[in-house]
Amino acid sequence: MAIDINKVLKTFGITDVNQGVSTGNDWFDTDGAITSSSSPIDGKEIAKVKNATMEDYEMVMKKAQEAFIEWRQVPAPERGEIVRLIGLELRKYKEELGALVTYEMGKIFQEGLGEVQEMIDICDFAVGQSRLINGVSLQSERREHRLFEQYQPLGIVGIITSFNFPVAVWAWNSALAAIAGDVVIWKPSSKTPLTALATQKIIGKILKENNVPEGVFNLIVAKSSVMGDNFLEDRRIPLFSVTGSTVVGQRVGGIVGKRLGKTILELGGNNAVIITPNADIKMAIASTVFGTVGTAGQRCTSTRRIIIHESVYDQVKDSMVNAYKSVAAKVGNPLDENFLVGPLIDVHSVNNFKNSVSKVQEEGGKILFGGEVMEGEGFESGNYVMPCIAEAENHYEIVQEETFAPIVYLIKYSGEVENAIEINNNVPQGLSSCIFTLNVREAEKFVSAMGSDCGIANVNVGTSGAEIGGAFGGEKDTGGGRESGSDSWKIYMRRQTSTSNYGAELPLAQGIKFDF
């Protein structure tokens, strides 16, 4: 497919300068800073966005509060119907939105399409869930009493997304929030505002056609000086879902926690693949290369470490280097489907990559492949790097950190699988992990209580590329939040326990006598 970006921008009504505040179908002219969005592919400015002021923020907040009063009374299956229609509309614009994701963020077009598919998938999931919001009925200790739990709408959900999944993460959160009866305020990454604008325009039509109140799906493009700590401190927002770095998550957790608000924190990972002597090495390599270089190493779940048994270490090392030699010819413009690895988001990320390549060597590591910044025709933006493989040890300071770029560390282990699991767990983060083995004992140990301490622990499946059906998130410095599938919907709701007395007596719990 030949992608005409100007046509894509026109499809979404994106002009040179765009409004950045919307309450659903309505858009507002604002007087905040005018910021620009550039493509990491060629460094060219795509378009400008008018940011919000404090007054705009207050206006949206008021609209969201009003909308919640109305939206929470709409039956959940009716709310699900709106989400179903949003999913259908996303299907219509899958290619265009996928292309814009690619152009603004830099992931390859196939992954851009995959991102929009995730939006569609979570809409489908949420539609089903809208008829499954349930609670339990329990046995009361008192006669003629009924004890039950139910889930009620929570209120306004603040959603702060990152550049690497500029629209899918919004969908994960807002589809579930919407069927839960909540309303959302979305603050997108300052690096990818245009995909947010496009998404809002796609759903705006559905909201208007179906008389969804303005204020259910809100978007605010704003600088952190306008929507920063004050956003997090705002007691009108009971729940924040934040995707970003551990350092940002610590700030969010501190501020929202201080007012006893709820958070879903989706933070950094330091994800490892364990390859045991019993692995299908060919499968392990194929899977791991996608994990290390996919999205140019800019996924939260990108593979950062490969923990390899000493008996197969050289074989894996050679296979990885050979695979990277093939990948080397496929670094380039992500809109061109001949390429598999696009650019990093900006020059700062390139510098971080370069620093990590230097630092691992300073600490005693050895570069086996790549590590250079690409130059020449097609790489003029300065954002393209050659994916790097380095031999390292787990205790290195740089290995303990997450570098948001395509650098992977090979780490050798000896003895039993427990030793590999110990290395896997011996980092501050705990998002994703996996083991490649055909040995059931090794596999079961890895997913047992004594196994991986990560939120995601796979067997013969790599660290990245999760399905929406499972709950997504991690432990330790990854923040502990869960979003997307399984029972993640519960955090978007207020849990309520009720006791109902349908008798003529008034017995107290625990048999307490209180006669007067």
């Binding site: 990152s162 000086s225 920063g228 970003g244 770095s245």
Partner: protein
Amino acid sequence: MIGKNITIEDLVDDYPFSVTFLQKKGIKCIACGEPIWGTLEEACLEKNFTQEDIQQFVDELNTLNKKQN
């Protein structure tokens, strides 16, 4: 003019040379590809720099900015 209350986001956007300058001081402005939250002062205090250190950084950044222009 750069002051200690400037947000890291604005520093990264408007004075991109600051990222390398501060990185050399052990202050990371970018994490997971995004600017960290908060002000220059907060980022410095997080790394246990004193108010005198912060003022010195501000002065040096403004000098660098003049050279850039």
